[in-house]
């Protein structure tokens, strides 16, 4: 790879890792969004705490963490992908197919490490297929991932038909239900995944290549970045994370059912955008995404505890998303000099 110092773009200009970190944290274009999300999360928690005495308890906090972990893991990969200017609307299908592989592997009594390996590599492989379709065949990401989603869903239907794969063992249970030195395991899992992605994104040349492609793909190519390789790797990374999420899902619920993974992609995209990423690429924040995930899951959990029909959850998430987008658009309009191209 060529020296990356020649690659310049928003949030990707610094050459020394330390400077990159400082820039990422202090001069992040998404800092404001993160602060706003923390405030919004705090207000939401206050409202729900008033509405239900069961909301603000340690047990419920751990419960929220447990059900957030699969979405959180996938959203981390989605953030990298959206920063790169890509998108995956079919990640739920990848999770579903990985879950089938995991379920079948459990059923034929493979050792646990092998099950984990199968789940992760199945996801990564399916993700890489998306990456190849987008990067090599130049199919727009939304179309490519939509097309593969239909195919993976067909696989799901054909393999498990009307039946569930049920009664799977809880050998990986500690990953979701356990704790490490008193810290709930889901929190550790989320910290490891987000920490890893943060190192990848802010600490390694690979992360700067992602930003560079998201800002200007042609310029990135001319600067000597192997665009195809970076794209395929990023799609495969999201796929691998979806495989990991499938492991967590199977561990948590101990079955694979036919509607596994529906809505997952849209929720992950919503969390990522809520967290400050732009679908146009080049902008995004892992911390913001994580806050977005918690925001979605806190609303889902709080509505149930407050006795409001959980059917309102999508309306609330959509409205907040809309509010965020409109505020940002209005501010961008005001900030831009008249007549400048958008």
């Amino acid at each position: 790879m060529t020296s990356t110092s020649e690659v310049t773009g928003a949030g990707a200009a610094a050459s020394a890792p330390a400077a990159a970190w400082r820039r990422a944290i202090l001069r992040s274009p998404t800092l404001e969004r993160e602060v706003a999300l923390v405030l919004a999360l705090a207000v939401t928690i206050l409202i729900f705490a008033n509405a239900s005495p069961h909301f603000l308890t340690a047990g419920n906090a751990v419960q929220i963490l447990r059900v957030s972990v699969d979405l959180a893991v996938i959203s981390a990969g989605m953030t990298l992908l959206i920063i790169m200017g890509g998108i995956d609307v079919g990640v739920g299908g990848i999770l579903a197919v990985s879950a089938i592989f995991i379920g079948r592997a459990y059923q034929i009594d493979l050792p646990v490490p092998l099950v984990v390996l199968i789940g992760l590599s199945a996801g990564a492989l399916l993700g890489a297929v998306n990456g190849l379709l987008c990067a090599r065949l130049r199919i727009p990401p939304i179309i490519a991932t939509l097309g593969t989603m239909y195919i993976w869903l067909a696989v799901l239907f054909l393999v498990i038909g009307g039946q569930w794969i049920a009664g799977l063992p809880r050998t990986l249970g500690p990953l979701v239900n356990g704790s490490v030195f008193g810290v709930p395991a889901p929190l550790v899992v989320v910290a490891v995944v987000y920490g890893g992605c943060a190192i990848l994104l802010y600490g390694l040349p690979f992360g700067r290549h992602i930003y560079a492609i998201g800002c200007n793909e042609t310029a990135a190519r001319l600067a000597g970045i192997d665009v195809v390789r970076v794209k395929v790797t990023t799609y495969a990374l999201l796929g691998g994370l979806a495989g990991f999420a499938a492991l967590l899902y199977v561990t948590r619920l101990r079955n694979v059912e036919i509607n596994i993974g529906t809505n997952l992609a849209l929720e992950a995209i919503a969390a990522t955008i809520l967290g400050g990423a732009s679908i146009r690429g080049g902008v995004g924040s892992l911390l913001g995404t994580l806050l977005g995930v918690f925001f979605i899951k806190v609303i889902q959990n709080g509505l149930v505890l407050a006795g409001v029909s959980s059917l309102w959850e999508r309306v609330i998430i959509g409205s907040v998303l809309l509010l965020v987008l409109v505020v940002e658009a209005v501010r961008a309009r005001r900030g831009r000099s008249r007549g400048a191209p958008g």
Partner: protein, 331 residues
Amino acid sequence: MTSAFAYPLPRSMVRSPLALRVLCLAVLLASILAIMPFVSPFFYQASTLPFLLKYVPVLGLLGMGQALVMIAGGPGIDLSSGAILSLVGLAIAALVAGGTPVPLACLAGLLLGAGLGAVNGTLIAFLGIPSLMATLATLFVFGGLAVAITGGVPLTGLPASFGWLGQATWAGIPVSLIVVLLPVAVLLHVMLTRTTIGSHMIAAGNDEAAARLLGVQVDRLRFALYVLNGTLAALGAIILLSWLLAARPDAGMGFELLAITIAVLGGTHIFGGEGGIPGTILAILIITVLQVGLQLANISPAWQLGIVGLLLLGGVGLNTALEQWRSRSRS
């Protein structure tokens, strides 16, 4: 597939990617129709025809709306059209249940569809929010509202006379296809190919900056197209309502993805500037023929999903291949 056509094609067709596209789709449809009797002996029975064409109007309206939104560029996409369909269906059913005369309720439904489309249009064309993000948010809001207001329970109690539009057939062809889809398709085709609006749409999709410099009101145009798409979704809601005589809160769920599939398969470029109504109609026919044929042959519905996926990827792959082939044959 493309190289076989290399010589017999007139040069004008090589120059016009859309005509070539329509030809490819027609050949594909013909070959599927030729294969179908081997898949299911029941396919060429007279009773199959109304069954086959029943799905076409609703999907057709959504697919054409999606195609128009895409053609005008931006890039344009509407993920919320299925949710608009659900919400409008519920609104009409609720109005009729409340004593409003059916025609008035349908008119209100069309206005609601246009209004919801106008929300999308405002967000995208006037506020400059990327269409994918804006309509993802409105998909959540509209679709969520449809489910939340009703508590997930379908609304029924529509008069049986209302079923005429969606259920009756003339000579085996559904009334809704003749009365609604065909006129709308012709109208939209004329609009796209014979009017300034159409050339402005294609100009805006091809090169937005140039279109603006030429005085095309790109923002207003795109706004109007989202309103149109909302109205078409509302029209689809009326047909679906009349067909089922019940409004399900999740009636349009997943339709947006099918609509996108149809538009793209029909030759509409996802980044705009290219596309047409004939290709879209052929794409709808291909998808419904496949679905019905596989159903008749008692093949798992899963294969339908898989084939739709393959067609989508194949369709776009074909586009890319055609583009490369044309640029080669030009030089």
